[in-house]
């Protein structure tokens, strides 16, 4: 039996996140580690439970192993429910054949049956690749109040950046009359956050029509939203203000991590009223040794610091040996930084060893870009990896040395 749920959340977590390169080689973007003890998807999942939405379908497709493992039964987010809870929804074989999720809309279309089990009136569509804290219940209230068919959360962006986003042009009351994907000359600064609430009947009607159209690329932004606008459906923009970041690129992922630092961090993870939950292993507490210097940094349990850490975010179980200097960097879980290694402006993925005396990233105060070291690599002693490089295979370093 399934209990009735007013609103079912559907979380699109199948994207590859190809602009994160080495970080998503074996890992879907939503499962990329963030902020020391989180993964990107924690924010959306925590928002769901904190908003009182306890039924969440997670649509997976690309490299789902880590993500499936991570979500598990949903316990860390209090989503291990007898009725509802979190459910992983992979592509499947149906009576008429098997199909991958061909687009965001198609992924939901293939899972209409899941939504119907809960007899819900509304469907919340989320993506698992943004860092933000938002009360979806308020958005649902708004959706009901304006009697919308579809409500799209929007955030005000600077006009000069507006052409990077999907832009909503609205009337004064928030009613959307125009939607333009990455417009050259934007006439509004209201950018879509990729968060939609649909009234279920309308959504199903448009998804079915979209699926029947062979020309469609089955995408919400490209196809379904424009089709609904053209059909004069009641579409409203729900204004959101606060921290919101698309961490789809190396530089934005790095920036979002840096936003956790400082006197009053832009992104506050200590808010007792809006906790961000995560699944993590038990580690011993962190130890800061006699000779250590730790300055403007965020450090997670299991770390042992004997060297210098400045303006950096360290995941669990990281060891920084004597004489090593880590600055302006994001170090993920269980990285070993051997003595006298230097890391500056870099993202080091999980389970990596940085050999003694190695130098990773920019040697200057400023960097052109962020250097990335993929998971599980062993960087040899005294190796040099320059500014803005992407190392996903140890051969890349050896080749350079031979030249």
């Amino acid at each position: 039996m399934f209990r009735k749920k007013e609103c079912v959340a559907m979380l699109l977590a199948g994207g590859q996140g190809s602009r994160l390169y080495a970080l998503t080689e074996k890992n879907a973007k939503p499962a990329v580690p963030f902020g020391g003890k989180y993964r990107i998807i924690d924010f959306t999942l925590s928002n769901c439970i904190n908003s009182g939405f306890d039924t969440v379908g997670v649509l997976t497709q690309y490299q789902p192993l880590v993500l499936n493992d991570y979500i598990g039964n949903g316990l860390p987010w209090d989503l291990d429910r007898s009725y509802g809870g979190v459910k992983i929804l992979p592509p499947y074989q149906g009576k008429k054949g098997a199909d991958w999720y061909r687009g965001t809309a198609n992924a939901i279309y293939q899972n209409m049956q899941f939504i119907d089990r809960y007899d819900s009136e509304y469907v919340l569509i989320l993506s698992g690749d943004h860092i933000y804290k938002m009360d979806y219940a308020k958005m649902l209230d708004y959706h009901k109040r304006v009697n919308a068919d579809c409500t799209i959360a929007v955030i005000d962006v600077p006009l000069k950046e507006a052409s990077r986003f999907g832009i909503m042009s609205t009337e004064e009351d928030g009613k959307i009359y125009k939607f333009s994907e990455k417009p050259k000359n934007p006439d509004s600064t209201k950018a879509s956050m990729g968060i939609y609430i649909f009234s279920k009947e309308v959504l199903f009607e448009f998804l079915t029509a979209d699926a029947a159209d062979p020309e469609s690329s089955n995408d919400f932004g490209k196809n379904v939203i424009p089709a609904m606008l053209a059909a004069k459906k009641r579409m409203y923009a729900y204004p959101f203000s606060g921290y919101w970041k698309d961490v789809g690129t190396i530089s934005s992922l790095w920036e979002a991590n840096m936003d956790l630092l400082g006197e009053t961090p832009k992104l506050d993870l200590r808010d007792e009223e809006w906790r961000i939950y995560s699944r993590h292993e038990t580690h011993a507490p962190q130890f800061v040794g006699e000779s250590a210097v730790v300055d403007n940094s965020s450090i997670t349990e299991g770390c042992e610091i004997y060297g210098t850490v400045r303006n950096s975010v360290l995941g669990a179980g990281v060891c920084v040996q004597k004489g090593a200097v880590v600055s302006n960097s994001v170090i993920m879980d269980n990285v070993m930084i051997e003595k006298d290694a230097k890391i500056n402006y870099a993202i080091i993925d999980e389970e990596t060893t940085i050999g003694a005396g190695a130098s990773i990233g920019s040697e200057q105060k400023k960097a052109k870009g962020i250097t990335v070291i993929a998971a599980g690599l062993s960087i040899p002693e005294h190796a040099v990896v320059g500014d803005n490089e992407m190392i996903s295979d140890i051969a890349q370093i050896q080749m350079k040395e031979e030249m």
């Binding site: 003890k37 860390p76 011993a284 130890f287």
Partner: protein, 377 residues
């Protein structure tokens, strides 16, 4: 091999009354993020024990809150798992004047129904005030090989060097490890091997001992059962040589916590391969060190904000060290808040203590200054 566990959560409560006034020995915080019961629980879980009874006495709210369903130790089970055993006495039987048990043996008598309902052949018994990371399965194997009724896990001590707790049980064994005598340690006397109060017992032996005790009015497990029966039973000792910390007083709590700053002790407890110590997860954010933070030789939990100076200290989860504040040789328990320009030396602050701007407090290593739970200074 089927083994169940039994943990005495309140034994020796009186030795650190400052911390146990409001909680059980089992729920005394230790080592940044643990409670004492995490050690026996983790040791048992790592030895494949998944049915564990926890004998309580009084003030066990904090213990129940800590344990929850037992999920964090992987002990939320349909069969077995954690069973909290509240104090038990017959409502209509006034023979003991309605008072709660006051000894180990009486505590066991109170849980005889749990022991008799178990189907396991062996039961591991453990206190909470002895902190160690021990491989119990090896001890259990010895117990089985020896066809023992009871195996007491012991540790070596040197009089004058080690801090030997009052009332320690001195164990004397022959060359085969068979126990020949048990006595209570008296200061100044010689002692080589004392009990850790971790034992492995045959369940049937335990039931028999409890029955015997009931019939004869025995109250002391070591005196009335172990010593009395030693000559005619198979009692063995198993010597444990790893790190073992026994909390016997507030001063010993202080000095033993400080031992965590040395890598041998820290690694011997927390960095044993495949044997992590589990505890309740709290979902704290990582600890944030601000630009002016200066931290050295300190053991820090997650969820802290450090804006001042911290040296040779143990910080529990959610501690806040304000700007210009200097914390040296301190143990600050969960959610202790220090304002700006505070100076602390040799202070133990219990949970949720608030120390306002500019306060200066100092104890001494031999007599740490203790601030009770929830106080505002």
């Amino acid at each position: 091999m089927e083994v169940a566990g039994l943990i005495f959560s309140n034994i020796h409560d009186s030795s650190i009354s400052e911390l146990t006034n409001i909680r059980t020995m089992a729920s005394v915080p230790f080592g940044c993020r643990y409670r004492l019961i995490d050690f026996p629980l983790s040791n048992m879980v790592h030895s494949g024990i998944t049915k564990i009874g926890i004998i309580t006495h009084n003030n066990y709210q904090s213990l129940m809150d800590h344990l929850g369903t037992g999920k964090d130790w992987d002990l939320a089970r349909r069969s077995g798992g954690i069973k909290i055993l509240p104090p038990f006495f017959n409502t209509y039987d006034n023979s003991n004047g309605g008072r709660l048990y006051s000894s180990r043996l009486e505590a066991l008598m109170g849980v005889s129904s749990f022991i008799s309902r178990c189907t396991e052949d062996y039961i591991v018994l453990s206190d909470c005030d002895g902190i160690c990371n021990i491989d119990l399965s090896d001890a259990i194997e010895h117990h089985v090989e020896n066809k023992a009724d009871l195996t007491i896990i012991t540790r070596k001590v040197t009089v004058g060097v080690d801090d030997i707790p009052d009332r320690s049980k001195v164990i004397v064994a022959d060359e085969n490890g068979m126990i020949t005598d048990v006595s209570t340690y008296i200061k100044g006397e010689s002692a080589h091997e004392i009990s850790t109060n971790i034992m492995i017992a045959n369940r049937m032996f335990l039931l028999n001992a409890i029955g015997d005790a009931g019939a004869h009015g025995y109250t002391d497990f070591y005196r009335d059962i172990v010593a009395k029966r030693a000559s005619k039973s198979r009692f063995f000792r198993y010597l444990y040589e790893g790190i073992f910390i026994q909390i016997t007083s507030l001063e010993s709590y202080f000095s033993n916590s400080m031992k965590l700053l040395s890598p041998d002790v820290r690694n011997g407890l927390f960095d044993v391969k495949h044997r992590p110590i589990y505890t309740k997860l709290r979902n704290s954010a990582p600890t944030r060190y601000s630009e002016n933070a200066q931290v050295c030789n300190s053991y820090v939990a997650d969820g802290c904000v450090i804006e001042g100076v911290v040296e040779n200290s143990i910080l529990f989860r959610g501690v806040h060290v304000g700007k210009g504040t200097v914390v040296k040789n301190c143990i600050l328990l969960q959610d202790t808040f220090t304002g700006n320009n505070v100076t602390l030396n040799c202070v133990i602050s219990d949970k949720n203590v608030v120390i306002r701007d500019g306060r200066m407090l100092s104890g001494h290593e031999s007599m740490p200054f203790f601030i009770p739970k929830g106080s505002m200074v």
